[in-house]
């Protein structure tokens, strides 16, 4: 089928082992920063595996997006972890046994499915330039995807900002939104409103 040479096999198994080992490390290691960046390395390895399967655009986009998201996630991990994020043993696990059992069962089921199912031969060949074909697809045949993702992203921004911030526009600009905001709020001043420009 595919004339995958020794180099590709070696590279694939390298990426696979790194992805799985660092994925497991995420829940083993005790510092928050190390857990997050272990996941980042696991994603980079997954991106590498995608690269090996001729999906150059998908591979590099996974690396690009995931490194950014893990950098942001590390900050949230540190903010919301109960005790000290780097120096405390992370024993925040409950129902360890059932979780382990469930994951092993899933692995056995999916693994055997992957190996035993007689996968059909490949139909059709990948187009010469996958990225261009992808671009053409999202613009013509799958324009619906583009039309749907836009509003979903706007909704995400509105939901994200509305849920996470404490001071809304009425706190900053006064009830009829006409005062100049003082950012950040002055000490001893309530959350609502502010008069002078940034000091």
């Amino acid at each position: 089928m595919t004339d995958s040479s020794l180099v590709v096999d070696l590279a694939f198994w390298g990426c696979a082992v790194v992805a799985v080992v660092f994925g497991a490390l995420v829940f083993v290691v005790d510092s928050m920063a190390r857990a997050t960046y272990a996941l980042a390395v696991s994603f980079v390895a997954t991106g590498g595996a995608l690269l090996l399967m001729q999906q150059s655009y998908l591979g590099v986009i996974v690396v690009l997006m995931m490194v950014m998201e893990m950098a942001v996630m590390a900050v949230y991990m540190v903010m919301f972890m109960g005790m000290n994020p780097a120096l405390m043993p992370m024993s925040m696990v409950h129902s360890h046994r059932t979780a382990l059992g469930a994951s092993l069962v899933t692995f056995v089921v999916l693994g055997s499915g992957a190996v035993l199912v007689p996968w059909p031969e490949r139909r059709g060949a990948p187009s010469p330039d996958v990225t261009e074909a992808l671009g053409r697809a999202i613009m013509e045949s799958h324009m619906l995807v583009m039309m749907a993702v836009g509003p979903v992203m706007v909704a995400t921004i509105v939901v994200g900002v509305a849920l996470s911030t404490a001071r809304t526009r009425y706190d900053r600009l006064g009830d009829d939104l006409d005062q100049t905001p003082t950012d950040p709020p002055l000490r001893g001043e309530t959350q609502r409103g502010g008069r002078r420009r940034d000091r």
Partner: protein, 100 residues
């Protein structure tokens, strides 16, 4: 590198993510588990695309999965911040009583 091995690795990632999602108490760690599961799904889809039907629409699906993962993260962070502000902690079991 055959479709079986790729799917095997993908299912390994997925099951590690499942373990994390089920066993962790903190909202953010559960999200880490979810992301690892989505990584497994991503790898599986990539493998199936390459070995079975390499036409562009499969790639679009992968883009949508990536977009979904980012949306999940953004809203997850917002909810974690909200939980932390409301209850001063974000243990998943205490988050059940949002009303108090």
């Amino acid at each position: 590198m055959t479709v079986e091995t790729v799917l095997l690795v993908a299912s390994a990632l997925l099951s590690i993510g499942l373990y994390g999602a089920l066993s962790q108490q903190v909202v953010v760690m559960v999200m880490m588990g979810l992301e690892l599961m989505i990584a497994g799904v991503l790898l599986a889809l990539g493998g199936l695309w390459w070995f079975l039907s390499p036409d562009p629409s499969g790639q679009v699906l992968l883009l949508v999965v990536l977009a979904a993962m980012t949306v999940e993260m953004a809203t997850g962070f917002a909810i974690a911040t909200l939980l932390h502000r409301r209850t001063g902690t974000d243990m998943t079991d205490m988050a059940a009583e949002l009303h108090e």
